[in-house]
Amino acid sequence: MPRKVVSGPDYDDEYGDYDEYDDDDYDETEYGNNHPVNMGKESLKKSSSTVPVHWTCSMCTFSNHESMVYCEMCGVFRETFVKSAKDGLLKDAAVAVSTEPRTSDASKTDSAKTPVKIRALDSDGDSARKHAMSYDKANSMQLTSAGSSLGAEKKKKTPVLSEVPVERIALLASDGFQLKGNQSGGASSSSQNDNVIQKLSSDLGQLNVDKNNVNVTKPCLSEEYKPEKWMLADPESGVLSQLNLAIVGHVDSGKSTLSGRLLHLLGRISRKDMHKNEKESKEKGKGSFAFAWAMDESSEERERGVTMTVAVAYLETKKFRVVLLDSPGHKDFVPNMISGATQADAAILVVDASTGSFEAGMNGEGGKGVGQTKEHAQLVRSFGVEQLVVAVNKMDAVAYAKERFDFIKLQLGSFLRSCNFKDSAITWIPLSAVENQNLINAPSDARLTSWYQGFCLLDAIDSLQLPSRDVSKPLILPICDVIKSRSTGQWAAYGKLETGAIQNGSKVLVLPSGQEATVKTIERDSNSCTIARAGDNVAICLQGIDGSQLIPGGVLCHPGFPVAVANHLELKVLVLDITTPILVGSQVEFHIHHVKEAARVTKIIALLDKTGKPSKSAPRFLKSKQNALIQVTLDGAVCVQEFSKSRALGRAYLRSSGRTIAVGVVNQIIVQDQN
């Protein structure tokens, strides 16, 4: 895939802007080697006059700038980098980078546009960065830190600049050494160092050029973020990791009943509550809803026997602390399902096995259109969920017939494959929530045991793989829900930590209002805890903020690393099965993490072919199954990030007339002209 921005060799114009830069502190390897500085200069010149060469990602064929160690699109590491790291050339660097290779080595790209706010940062790990930044202004700079951070920059570049690797290492080393020496002897030869550093920074500038043209929004300097010790999880702590599990499926397939049943079997519902639910549901003549009522608590939902918003419940298995997100299946509540279940790590797709119901789930009522079994499956896939447990429910209604199970498996399986689910990541389980077959124990009914010996549902949940968590990135927590605590009168934000970690007393920035607040308490499943890490679903009580500033769909983030708030986006979309084509000017509902906003398509830039290359520019309209690059304008600004930077904040869904018409990722945030 070609880059959109051509990075020409005229870096000098940009030069002035990049004087101030910064990075993690980083101080290995440099000291052993002391080549003279001018040699370093030479090699620098050499490298800065080199026209950048692009390398092609082995996975997605995106052509990346040579300075990138990983692919900008898909995050796959460049082969040469991996190799050189193995060679031991970068032994130390590799150690330092290994904790968070992506964030740290991308640092050079964005570091130039540090907002003023960040400079005022005062967490311990940032001291080196601060010094480096104030370099030009303050004469009494701490050369060690400046030098070493430079070294860090350089060193990480080394493996990708195949032309001059050795010299560059030498240069780095000499820089580090020289600067260090300087500091001990007082800042006497600072002018010389100045030179070197400016050269270095111009060099950095050069590497920045291409990226900065693209990245016009507020910079997210996630690269220079340095996680503190407490943030990193201790793998041996014995605490089970949290798994966010969405339960999805067509209306009336038994999602709530299944969730309620699971909770009951695992002892999460007291006998008193259960008895109450049973009694009340019988009184209303809806005896079969007793378990569903454990999830559907609002009177409206009980009255109609339909889940309307996503219910959250907690349970523990042998391997995980599971957060169940029981989503509504009715087609009118798909927006609720999207905003409530985007945080899912894995999903259970509940399918009604009984005759006619499965078909309705696939093809919609009356066989027309798309049923929610399909729509939900497509949606959860676009949430980033890769592992799916298909629970074929109500097997009792078809007398536990193997033929029916196989039929469903065949039909749905081929559809799931078309949604990009891997066969190996799908587990098929026949069960009956009402008769309690195959939920937490192996089935007892002979009609089922005669042909099924696989997992029961609970084992299937335990067999799921936990997705990787980006604990060492800056905090991002999309707010799913805001509740005023009745006891303390304080506002609490519910949501899943996408990246980073948070503890009591942490300062957070609340977007889109832009206010800062302090974390007072953190609650997980109504129990308070001190630290929450990426992947945890928590309620965070905030101090120092008004409730009106805290809205669902907002984002809590690290004060130094704000996410963008924008209303004009470029998306890369996959159009789903639609009847009315998407035109320029089509009005859609735009969903991203927990927000929805009215939007319209302002431009269809190009159609993309299978490999992601533009195949036709400015087409008249988009039809089913096409990939395209489009621009949308939202009525109101939302918190958003490019997909390449943050997956959770970069996935978008377009809906219209009660259907999901396209799913996609944010390719680029477009800054509006000021007029």
Partner: protein, 379 residues
Amino acid sequence: MKLVHRNLVRNGPGSVKLVPEEEDDLWHAYNLIAIGDNLQAVTVRKVLREVASGGRDAERVKLKLEIVVESVDYDKEGSVLRVRGKNITENDHVKIGQFHTLELELKRPFVLRKEIWDWLALETIQQACDPAASADLAVILMQEGLAHLFLIGRSITATRARIETSIPRKHGPAIAGYETALKKFFEHVLQALLKHIDFEVVQCVVIASPGFTKDQFRDYLFLEAARRDLRVIIENKQRLVLAHATSGYKHSLKEVLDTPGVMALIKDTKAAQEVRALQDFFNMLTNDPARACYGPKHVAIAHEQYAAVQTLLITDTLFRNADIATRQKYVNLVEGVKKSNATVHIFSSMHVSGEQLAQLTGIAAILRFPLPQLDDIEM
């Protein structure tokens, strides 16, 4: 609109005297008055005069002025039309060539003089003066946490209120918070309804939402009406209609107008025809994409080279173009299309369907036969 006096030649010069009577009429007047026309109306102007003592004295004088129009400004909310231009009437207070802004309001007559009365202008007058019952319909479009209140007139849709509150998700024991938040939200909508809907004028009120929000709201409405003895609502119970919509955003309004129940209420109005025409266009685009096209370039080619246009959809914004040549171009296009026995729908840009058409470049056409070659021409 009342036509008081008319003295004109078709496709020639002339003048009309009109009295706007409803809000819609001002919209028509807005479409009628073009830059370069002469407009005469009674107005008030503050006149400064020097007194003998040397001091200055401001005085408000009521005058009848005629101006050459330079710009027209329509205020949707306040229903006023402001027309700015240079004075051409000789009088004691305002010099010829001085700028003045005339404010056209309801019940104030004005005289409009044009060099050329094209068929479009005449049709606008005819439409505006058509006494056929106007479709005054109120629509409350809602979803949990978001509600819009619209008044739909013959040619304009006015957004009267927008209510937005955040409603928490159900969360264990905090479920009560959800219910109170919902109650509060309904209360806001109820207040908006009482404030903006005049049952004397409005034929009926449509409550539309996805899911059960509409039923919940109606129950709430009746309950509160009985409790607080709100006569207006109790007496007009039959005029509340429920309809399904897929969201609470404004663009869902066209789905509401499209539902059979509501369609029956507004059957013969312009709004309904527009909704239907746009729906036809989309259906054609779905079933036979080569027989539908949009964008000025594509439509012009389809008409001029192939005479293929069967139904033309165009918004009135295009005629309001400041550039007279452009307006002429569109007027000619429409006229040409009409001559080829095609149907022309001129959408009011104040209705949602018109708004949507405006998004699609403002012009679209259903073709008599497929023109796949349009695909190759860039828009």
